[in-house]
């Protein structure tokens, strides 16, 4: 028995800040202190605190230490582990716990971790720890006690919507695939996360990979598929490593393969790595990529549940969607509907990034307001600066401003104002930034990531970039703003896939709320934040 457990976050954020070195020092110094057999070190996924260096949690005391370096280890050992005293300078109080009013506390109390139930709590490399927290119980129950149709019904009744960004009802997608006759069907987990500011899937894959495997096996049982692929971005090395380990140990334990739980159900999984292409997050482009081709989107219909991978019915689900499935089967759709709002049930994982004090990952019920996310949970904006705008859902997401701070974040309320929850990335931008410069940055991204298949997106993103470059360098005129508007609305209506159709959303959003600033750039060649260099204007070569 161990007297103390130390959790050390070993997600990509932590590793980028030296977590491996700290762990090595910890092992070494524990041995020096002669207490290696009293303290167990557990590597976990993200502990939910992402920009505070290496994070350790000491149990059973539940004490968080942040910004830990190898030099701090002797202090932690001699003070905390041996003498039971807190090391104050490293101690971190969980954000939001004290400041929020009672009413809000009540609301934040509703935070139940569904998707992130295990992330940061278990060792993602241990199947035993996953099983100890009810892991694979839903799969066992489904294949022995439920028909595939009952599994689909339960997911449909839960109202779960796809968490990849489109919020399509997950159960309905499964029904389409189940209703198509074929000798082979496939389940694909879309782990090609690449939307700027989004890292929820990465932290789920790194922190709780078995939840994805169980979700995929349940999906396979529900629609009659025996084979699945996890398509992971090539850049996500740690995700690939953890999922591969999880697949191997699930197979070794008879939870993947032939005759699962002694029934006639067969299901197996393989990883497919991406090779660097944002567009492969689009499901038909992803399928093209698995088939060994350029990741260019296909014409639809037919949709993948009817004709997908190698022409067979295929369900493509996002990582977060799949991470919900086992919980829904285990605890029931009624339990799941207890979170969120009537039309947007469940929880949502958000990543908070940009100009915010506590960037990181949170799971909250649908319907929380922007103000609560930014100021209560996110700790507000650094350096006493003001709030300019927020972008919800990644780089194709809609723009939210001051007037939206108290809007409940649900699929339908955001849709009403021309925005969406998208990937759940919340980019917070402070008032020292320039919206024109920001839009130029968005367009650079789209121009780089356009796959080139359709003219409107390939050429449109390029022309938009030129126009914005004119505005931000002092060569623009008010005509350019008009051209941006016309081109944007043409792309929205005519581009082949979601990338080109959604690219103008943040551009038009910024134009709607900050048109005066755009005009200032175009007509007066002035950028009050000095983010735009306006060199041409200074040299007197304005158009």
């Amino acid at each position: 028995m161990y007297r103390i457990h130390i959790l050390i976050a070993m997600d990509s954020h932590a590793v980028a800040q030296g977590a491996r070195q700290v762990k090595d020092a910890l092992i070494r110094d524990l041995a020096l202190a002669g207490i290696s057999d009293e303290v167990k070190i557990v590597e976990t996924g993200s502990l939910g605190v992402s920009n505070k260096g290496v994070v350790l949690v000491v149990f059973p005391d539940d004490v968080y230490y942040v910004n830990v370096t190898t030099d701090d280890i002797p202090d932690i050992i001699s003070e905390h582990l041996l003498k039971g005293r807190l090391v104050e300078r490293l101690h971190f109080k969980r954000p939001g716990a004290e400041k929020i009013s009672e009413k809000k506390a009540e609301r934040l109390d509703k935070q139940v971790r569904v998707v992130l139930k295990n992330a940061g709590i278990i060792d993602p490399k241990s199947i035993e720890e996953y099983i100890a927290r009810d892991g694979y119980e839903a799969l066992g129950r489904a294949v022995t006690e439920m028909t595939p149709q009952q599994v689909r019904e339960e997911v449909k009744k839960s109202g779960l919507q796809g968490r990849g960004g489109a919020f399509f009802p997950a159960g309905m997608k499964w029904d389409f695939a189940a209703g198509t006759d074929a000798d082979q069907k496939y389940i694909i987990c879309n782990a090609d996360e690449g939307e700027p500011g989004t890292f929820k899937d990465r932290l789920i894959l790194e922190g709780d990979p078995h939840a994805i495997i169980e979700g995929m096996a349940l999906a396979g049982y529900a629609v009659g598929a025996t084979k699945g692929y996890v398509y992971i971005r090539g850049e996500y090395r740690m995700s690939i490593e953890h999922v591969q380990l999880a697949i191997d140990s699930a197979r070794a334990n008879g939870l993947l393969g032939q005759g699962i739980f002694g029934t006639g159900f067969n299901f197996d999984l393989e990883i497919r790595e991406g090779a660097g292409a944002y567009i492969c997050g689009e499901e038909t482009a992803l399928i093209e990529s698995i088939e060994g081709r350029r990741g260019e989107p296909r014409d639809k219909p037919p949709f993948p549940p009817v004709e997908g991978l190698w022409g067979k019915p295929t369900v493509v689900n996002n990582v977060e969607t799949l991470a919900n499935i086992a919980q829904i089967i285990l605890k029931g759709s009624e339990w799941y509907k207890g979170f969120g709002t009537e039309k947007s049930p469940g929880t949502k994982v958000f990543t908070m990034v940009g100009n915010i004090n506590n960037p990181g990952l949170i799971e909250v019920p649908m319907g929380i307001t922007l103000r609560e996310i930014i100021y209560d949970i996110g700790g507000g904006i650094p350096d006493g600066k003001g709030f300019l705008l927020a972008q919800m859902g990644g780089t194709t997401g809609g723009i939210l401003t001051e007037e939206h701070l108290d809007l409940p974040m649900t699929v339908e309320t955001l849709r009403d104002i021309g925005a969406g929850l998208g990937s759940g990335a919340l980019l917070v931008v402070d008032d020292s930034q320039c919206p024109v410069d920001l839009v130029k940055n968005f367009v650079e991204f789209f121009n780089h990531e356009s796959c080139g298949k359709c003219t409107l997106c390939r050429e449109g993103t390029g022309r938009l970039h030129e126009l914005l470059d004119r505005l931000t360098s002092g060569r623009g005129s008010e005509k350019d703003i008009n051209l941006i508007k016309v081109l944007s609305s043409t792309m929205m209506r005519g581009a082949f896939c979601g990338l080109g159709q959604a690219a103008p959303v943040p551009i038009l959003g910024c134009l709607r709320y900050f048109e005066d600033i755009f005009i200032q750039h175009a007509r007066d060649h002035v950028c009050t934040t000095n983010k735009c260099e306006m060199e041409a204007a200074r040299k007197g070569v304005a158009a």
Partner: protein, 158 residues
């Protein structure tokens, strides 16, 4: 040529995998550093996939390269979360330190400088990746210090 045998072997390793082209190209690139025309021609011959398709794939994905690159590939992120946290100053400093622009390789073939799209570690923005290692919370000074370490490593064991 021994090179050709290696390519053939890699292709054969994937005999049991359906549509493995991307995996084959990854392994081949790992072996030779980049995907030259003669290498791709051999892959085409061995896999019986038309060369035009193979070239299409090799030039579509950002992790593939048809040109020789430096020993260390620096992938810098300038997506919005990094941008609003000051990535531009970091990128300018890196360019100045290396004396090359994005897409270029230094004359000593130690560094190739590239952009990457979001690496998903935005909570420690701005970030960059050097080969497989990621670095966060960059400042112009910190980025240069990291690259100096690599440069020392790169010149000592060439």
């Amino acid at each position: 040529m021994p090179e050709m045998n290696i390519i053939d072997e890699i292709v054969e390793n994937y005999n049991n995998v359906k549509t493995p082209l991307i995996y084959i190209l990854k392994d081949v690139q790992k072996e030779f550093g980049y995907l030259s025309e003669s290498i791709l021609t051999r892959v085409a011959k061995k896999t019986k996939i038309p060369m035009r398709n193979i070239y299409g794939v090799a030039t579509f994905y950002s992790l593939f390269t048809t040109k020789e690159k430096g020993k260390y590939i620096i992938r810098c992120c300038n997506n919005a979360p990094c941008h609003v946290n000051g990535s531009k100053e970091v990128l300018d400093k890196i360019k100045e330190y290396l004396g090359v622009d994005f897409g270029e390789t230094t004359a000593d073939k130690i560094f190739t400088l590239e952009f990457t799209s979001c690496l998903g570690i935005c909570a420690v923005a701005p970030v960059m990746m050097v080969n497989d290692d990621v670095y966060g919370n960059l400042t112009p000074e910190k980025a240069v210090a990291i690259l100096k370490d690599y440069k020392m490593k790169g010149t000592s064991n060439v």
